[in-house]
Amino acid sequence: MVEAFPIAFLFFAGAALLALLPKGALRAGVLLAVPLVALYLIWNLPEGNLFSAQLLNVELELMRVDRLSRIFAIIFCVAAFLANLYALHVKDTVQQVAALAYSGSAIGAVFAGDLIALFLFWEGTAITSVFLIWARRTEGALATGMRYLIIQVSSGVMLLAGTVLIWQETGSFTFEAMNPGSLGTWLLLGSFGIKAAFPLMGNWLSDAYPAATVTGTVILSAFTTKLAIYALARGFPGTELLIYVGAVMTLLPTLYAILENDLRRVLAYSLNIQLGFMVVGVGIGTELSLNGTVAHAFAGILYKALLFMGVGAVLYRTGTAKASELGGLHKTMPLTLIFCAIGAMSIAAFPWLSGFISKSLILSAAAYKGYYIIWGVLLFASAVTLHHSGLKILHNVFFGRDSGLRPKEAPVQMLLAMGMTAALCIALGIFPTMLYDLLPFAVDYAPYTLTHIVTQFQLLFFALLSYVLLVKSGLYPSMTRSVYLDTDWSYRRMAPAVIGYAALMIGRMWTGVTRFALRQLTDVATGLYKTHGPEGRIARVWPTGSMVLWVAVLLAAALLVNFL
């Protein structure tokens, strides 16, 4: 079949074409057309393994189309389109090419039917995305990008190692559901876990995303982590361990999201929390919960992109995204405020917005299966999300203390992109079947029951009340120009310090030992010189006398032995 070529190649061709075209309208056309054409093609693809290629002796399945891969590919195309629209003013060739190649790699990885193809595209996302961080072109961004790249590539290396071990065991490269048991599957789970920002493995997320450019962060927020969620949903559905891992993911970043000053870092932490919801859904492993994971990834890409776009627009206009420096922007950036508010209400899961219809699938799945503690944790995480991802951002950027900044409203292409994303957030909330029809399993779930709506409003309005009371009473942590140490401190400060200290100590010990040895050797040599040297005591009777005497002694001994 001719039209069933790997969709990723369309993006790569587009990226290559970009480099040849002159800057301006033609490039903009390519950036917007490629995701749209891809979306049209993916929408109309039949299911099945549509395209395979030979690499050395391995048959690569490059187009495994089923309901799970199709919905991820669809939302990736939508996200790529919206992010490219948002970034239409960017003239930097590197960023444009990286954006297309990155989204193409992510779509390629989603359609990969075997682990080798998955590995190739997996590394593709790592290598292309780092340019969105380096595009900031500062010393700090270079170092941050390097840390990001090392972690992303090690995830790929683990994937490859796991693939080889699994192949040894089963003789097959096919990427399908498995149970963690052998070393190979654990390596795969670890590799996915790094990209999905599991606890202690995911600090690259809050480290790297705030370091990218305004538009780069919007693009980054959509693909890498959701690709990992896809891989977990495909490879490890129903792995109970993931329920607890996901629950921890929804808790730990919360404190940092409350404290952090850099609002794009706040959003990165809150992205990590949203990933926690999805991981719990994978862990529960029922049809409802897996639907919930996929739906939440779909909705999450949109509202998270919308929030990153809003804060990005503020950064673009004022040069800072720090809560301590901003305030009072409602006067001159009202549209950005409205779009941010829609994003905030979506992520906080207000009824009739996208987060509500996706998050509730996972919460209900947890309650149905009797994971009551997990249910309570998720309920807490979704209430406190309103605080840090919604109210804190809206309050500190648009209201609060007047910073005196009076920036102009965001440029047209940004407003368009934000408007379209916001419209999608609302549309999904009002017409949930639009999303439910695309999910991997048939959905028998009604999000809008009276109980659900009333309880959700109770949860959110009382969370809102607690925010207002905390701010009024001055108990909410104040935003100052600080950083908050997270576990990445262990490899950014502690490990270098330990290694530095060890090197210093080993160096000192080496100097000590060599000096001691040298002194001993010198002593021996001087001692020998004293006794055996030309001036020494032994040298007085040195050559002939003692020689003859010893020869005589030996002769005598030999004779004696012979005689006996």
């Binding site: 370091a211 006067k331 109980t451 949860l459 309005f461 009340l465 925010y467 009024k472 108990l475």
Partner: protein, 136 residues
């Protein structure tokens, strides 16, 4: 105003990006602002704050009482406690914020802690932004 002075360390980029110069340009020329912005300005007026706050309190009270007037479909036993979601919402979020405030001091460091290997201490590059302003 004094607040802002405190939060600005003497790092070179602050002077460059012009926030210092911005802050004494406080007489708002509201006419140049977008219409929506003027509407929000009216809403954000300190006089409105009290009204908004009491509206919120009333809304919360109504929502809390709503629990007594309809049949709740529940799956988890704690849901049957009247106003469970309301209490959970206010207590847990407040608890989280206070815990964060309490623990924050241990992990707080100045912005330049990781410099120069981090972007926190840097200013955002000017060629990546487009600072258009109504004032200055």
């Amino acid at each position: 105003m004094s607040d802002q002075k405190q939060t600005e360390p003497a790092s070179p980029h602050v002077a460059r990006d012009g926030t210092g110069q911005m802050s004494h340009n406080r007489a708002d020329d509201v006419a140049g602002y977008p219409a929506l912005g003027r509407m929000f300005t009216a809403l954000a007026d300190p006089k409105m704050a009290k009204t908004l706050f009491y509206t919120l309190v009333v809304l919360c009270a109504v929502l809390f009482l709503a629990d007594f007037f309809y049949h709740k479909h529940t799956y988890v036993s704690v849901e049957n406690i009247p106003g469970f979601y309301a209490l959970y919402g206010i207590l847990m979020t407040a608890g989280a914020v206070l815990l964060a405030k309490f623990c924050g001091g241990w992990v707080r460091r100045p912005e330049t802690y990781y410099a120069p290997n981090d972007v926190d201490g840097e200013s955002y590059p000017q060629d990546e932004q487009d600072e258009e302003r109504h004032n200055g």
